[in-house]
């Protein structure tokens, strides 16, 4: 394990989660930011770096009474807020700023305020080459390679049900999760068809909510109210345009996942065997399979069985998506911030479904439909 340069010293989600009819996108960003600053014991004047997605950081800064000297507005899909952690790490190491607020808020369900992303405006390549074929949201695009995945690896559709079943077991332990009642594989397979082979229970929730983080140097991190969560390693990688799923070079073994993972593992000086807890962005139930395989936890084609056998379930050897995930906890459209919140809770020992003795947590997230990805390795220890 290599020595960490930076740490997360503040972390919080929006006060409410699920349906929040009284706040806009901007308001949800602010609610999350206020909660994270309170968690870190900081005031607006203490923040000199600000990162947010889709919204203009100058707009968010003014609204929050923050006057940053560094901003990041990475907007490449749901993993953007994870990438902002990597960028904040670099900015702090370079001395560009000292204390970064990363904030996310999204009225995904209520659609209050804006922007609400139209990724296929007339005249874009997405409009001409993807949207025109009946693209009806992420469920019809992010899922496109999966029929071939099942075909080539000789896997049944039922293996797409297990991630939902297992994550519901985690959600049952979490009062804040949106869906807590137990479900079976048959329940998942018999839920309404959305986009074959994907049924409703294989697709994420649509929620209002958000979250925020405060990142600073590892040196300063011990002076904050909570134990630091050190950022040991970070990676990001890009594969295709946001909706360019047809152009992923190898749609069954996407190269960019391995690239991002290798960057994170090599920065951390760690390997898969060192990871105690895993969060993989689950917009749809194939996403954890692709994550487990691309990150190196499972051989290609074997992640479905790995989940079916209970390895990622409560009591399993690699607890994954312990908040219930996008499938059962919350998903506002961009889910990356929620992965990191649960990793921080597990590393602080404050999670609703706390896993014993978690020292390292790996978060892996997606942007677009296999367009971008990011990997973070976090720990409550540093050499």
């Amino acid at each position: 394990m290599k020595r960490a340069s930076t740490a997360i010293v503040g972390a919080a989600e929006t006060t409410d989660l699920g349906v929040i009819p009284h706040l806009s996108n901007l308001g949800l960003n602010a609610d999350a930011a206020l909660n994270a600053l309170a968690d870190a014991g900081l005031k607006p004047k203490d923040i000199d770096g600000l990162a947010c997605g889709y919204l203009n950081p100058a707009d968010v800064g003014e609204y929050l009474g923050i006057y940053p000297v560094w901003t990041d507005n990475t907007s490449v899909g749901g993993c953007s807020w994870m990438i902002m952690v990597r960028h904040a790490m670099a900015a702090i190491e370079a001395g560009l700023c000292k204390t970064v607020l990363i904030t996310h808020g999204e009225s995904g369900r209520s659609q209050i305020g804006g922007p609400h992303y139209d990724f296929a405006l007339p005249g874009t390549l997405a409009d001409q080459f993807e949207y025109v074929y009946g693209w009806s949201g992420a469920a019809t695009m992010f899922t496109l390679p999966v029929a071939r995945y099942l075909h080539e690896f000789g896997i049944g559709e039922d293996l797409l049900a297990y991630p939902a079943v297992v994550q519901r077991q985690w959600a049952a332990r979490n009062p804040r999760a949106a869906r807590k009642n137990p479900i079976t594989v048959d329940d998942v397979l018999n839920s309404p068809m959305i986009a074959w082979p994907f049924r409703r229970l294989m697709c994420c929730l649509v929620s209002d909510g958000g979250g925020a983080l405060v990142v600073t140097s590892a040196e300063r991190a011990k002076d904050f109210p909570h134990n630091p969560v050190y950022i040991l390693g970070a990676g990001e990688a890009y594969e295709t345009s946001l909706s360019g799923v047809a152009r992923v070079r190898d749609p069954l073994r996407p190269e960019f996942i391995r690239t991002s993972a290798e960057l994170a593992f090599s920065t951390a000086g760690l390997a898969c065997s060192d990871i105690d807890h895993l969060m993989v962005y689950d917009a749809f139930s194939h996403c954890p399979l692709y994550g487990l395989e691309g990150l190196g936890f499972c051989a290609y084609g074997e992640a479905g069985d790995f989940i079916r056998e209970g390895n990622t379930a409560p009591g399993g050897r690699l607890p994954m998506n312990t908040n219930g995930g996008g499938l059962s906890y919350a998903h506002s459209g961009s889910y990356g911030i929620f992965l990191m919140q649960e990793a921080v809770r597990q590393l602080r020992g404050t999670a609703a479904a706390q896993v014993p003795d978690v020292k390292t947590s790996l978060c892996h997230g997606w942007g677009g439909f296999f367009s971008a990805c990011a990997t973070l390795i976090l720990s409550n220890e540093t050499p």
């Binding site: 007339p122 005249g123 390549l125 409009d127 001409q128 080459f129 993807e130 949207y131 025109v132 074929y133 009946g134 693209w135 009806s136 469920a139 019809t140 695009m141 899922t143 496109l144 390679p145 999966v146 029929a147 071939r148 995945y149 075909h151 309404p192 068809m193 959305i194 986009a195 074959w196 082979p197 994907f198 799923v245 047809a246 152009r247 749609p251």
Partner: protein, 141 residues
């Protein structure tokens, strides 16, 4: 009900002009030979600006797909495929598979396909793919 037609740009106009006369047009790099999509006035592999439009064979295979059971408001109310097809020339495209029941039993991975064109407006004919006739399924690109 009318499906929303796409809005071409100067860089893509020759593609849509081709579709209107029943040709699937692609570009190939004169320097490195790469054939690619979507259109752009340079080669994404080597950045040569010496790229040429050509009429593709229209032959493809079904790489993967979903069957969308919740069609968009501007589409007919029946489940429809959204597919990735692999062209004989190499590039993979998003498209629809037509002329065949929209079921997993009928839509077979790797089945041979041939481009056909669906009229969306007076100017826009959309390249979609139908099962290939047996006579065009056997040869190589």
């Amino acid at each position: 009900m009318t499906k929303r037609p796409p809005t071409p740009t100067p860089e893509t106009q020759p593609y849509w002009d081709g579709a209107k006369v029943g040709e699937l047009r692609l570009q190939r790099c004169a320097d490195c030979g790469d054939a690619y999509s979507p259109p752009r006035p340079f080669c994404p592999a080597c950045h040569s600006r010496d790229v040429r439009w050509f009429k593709a064979s229209g032959r493809a295979t079904l790489y993967s797909y979903v069957i969308n059971h919740r069609p968009r408001a501007d589409w007919p109310r029946q489940p429809h495929s959204i597919a990735i097809v692999e062209l004989a020339e190499g590039p993979r495209l998003v498209s629809n598979i037509v002329g065949i029941p929209q079921t997993p039993a009928d839509l077979k991975i790797d089945m041979p396909l041939q481009v056909v064109f669906e009229k969306l407006s007076d100017d826009i004919y959309l390249p979609v793919f139908a099962p290939a006739a047996p006579s065009v399924t056997v040869d190589n690109p």
